[in-house]
Symmetry: C2
Subunit: 289 residues, 2 copies
């Protein structure tokens, strides 16, 4: 190719990239955004995330799972403790048994791969038993090991999510698994001190049942410069309520006011069945017991 | 280009990609791995993660921060509650004051951008105050809102981390921030129910002070098929101890046995200064108080 042809091509590529960047930001915030000066395929994967709940029957290739778990293990881990583990379920009968609670979680049945991500202190407990170690001054009420494990498993799972999506796979997190501690313990043979935190349905998205990118709070509502400043909070949330209402209308979703509805959902975290077993499992996430 | 030239080019590209994939996996696990059948730039970013603690003076462009926060907000959020916020600190004086505790955290001073990621229930509390809502049956001992917020902030932060790394920036998480609740509250004007969980130093890596990719546990130690199986655990951890010793030698790091050392570190989570204030802040992460 001549130099001018190359220049034209890279100019077109740069323009396309800018257009893609703007489109990705606009779709996430539903407001006109300023163009970032650089963009790349990874940012497109990250910004393009949407929860997928409709899958093709095509199974997830073993090398894709291997790559995603390698990505998960590449995430930072506090003090390199690696306080997590994951169970990969592909057996259709087991997946059907894991459609727990929430009425129509057909996506767990439909997804060829269902991952259950756990905070895991059992590995270190086994080490402690092997070498007969015991900590002095262990405090059973200390939430630090629990919080550390929750962060670890979440960083790992999110890296896996990004890896899957980079390969054209789709997924959705299943928060409800935490409310079925005993059922999961039995079905997956989980030892004590392995606490399922969330599930993840993975598969190739069905193009005939697409989902939209969900708008999020304006960036100024979550990002504070130098010091926390909630002065504009009420106005920002009001604008988000309006954008969510618009999104719900376009996606033919139930119409709710985000701020009211999310408050009710937060209140509901206090009253759900399974909450007590989850709390007990979380409190048990310590080396002290 | 002729068709054969295109074919040769794509064959070379495919071969290069396979080589890159193998190298990335081998480096993460320090054992020969099977080649994945596909690879892409996002997987290279994910697998190539290493903690960066030496930065060039070049500042982080505003559009890069905007893109990273947009990526953070694109991560899944439980029930779309978005229970997190982040404070971006660039003021050198403030960064210097935030070098808390751990003796030589010069990387907080050196990084042009220091992000403090918090679990945040204050936003919903402000909504509740505005609309005079109050939940019935709120249980102050329920850890579910806390756990939900910890997962939310971690998924978001990890997406930001991947976004930064895709742009050539480097970073390291700072877990110690959680032990300085009062100091951060004062310095960053954090309202009640905003709990700093970790910091993140961000900047352009200094190529003259590179860091290595840290080896992780063998994949079989964290990934279980269909049911949890710890039968091979002792052998897998023993092999990892050996690989870590080798890595420490090559990187001229302190020589420790990973399994023993990480057990001691886990015990230490029970005895550190600042633990009580962190626990109090975590327990307070509820709408009930």
């Amino acid at each position: 190719m001549s130099t001018s042809a190359v220049n034209i091509r890279s100019a077109i590529a740069a323009t396309n990239t800018q257009v893609e960047a703007r489109a990705a930001l606009d779709e996430r915030y539903r407001v006109p955004c300023t163009e970032p000066e650089q963009w790349n395929p990874t940012l497109s994967v990250l910004l393009g995330h949407r929860s997928v709940r409709a899958f093709l029957p095509r199974s997830v290739e073993p090398w894709a799972l291997q790559a995603a778990i390698a990505a998960a293990q590449s995430a930072s881990s506090s003090l390199n403790l690696q306080l997590w583990s994951v169970v990969a379920v592909e057996d259709p009968a087991r997946k059907a048994r894991l459609c727990l609670g929430v009425a129509d979680q057909r996506w767990i049945r439909e997804a060829p791969l269902y991952l259950i991500w756990s905070a895991d202190l059992s590995r270190h407990r086994r080490v402690a038993e092997r070498i007969s170690a015991h900590g002095d001054n262990l405090d059973p009420d200390n939430l630090d090991p629990l919080a550390t494990a929750l962060v670890d498993v979440s960083l790992a799972a999110q890296n896996a999510a990004v890896a899957f999506e980079s390969l054209g796979l789709g997924l959705c997190y299943i928060g409800a698994v935490r409310l079925y501690q005993q059922e999961l313990r039995d079905e997956l043979a989980l030892p004590s001190h392995v606490v399922p935190i969330f599930g993840m349905c993975v598969g190739y998205p069905d193009p005939d049942r697409p989902t939209g990118v969900k708008p999020r709070l304006p960036q100024d509502a979550v990002l504070h410069k130098e010091r926390y400043d909630a002065a504009a909070d009420a106005a920002l949330i009001e604008s988000y309520d309006a954008r969510m209402a618009d999104f719900q209308g376009k996606q033919r979703l139930k119409q709710v006011v985000w701020s009211d509805y999310s408050l009710r959902r937060l209140f509901n975290l206090h009253t759900r069945d399974g909450r007590e077993a989850y709390n007990a499992a979380l409190r048990n996430l310590s080396l002290a017991r």
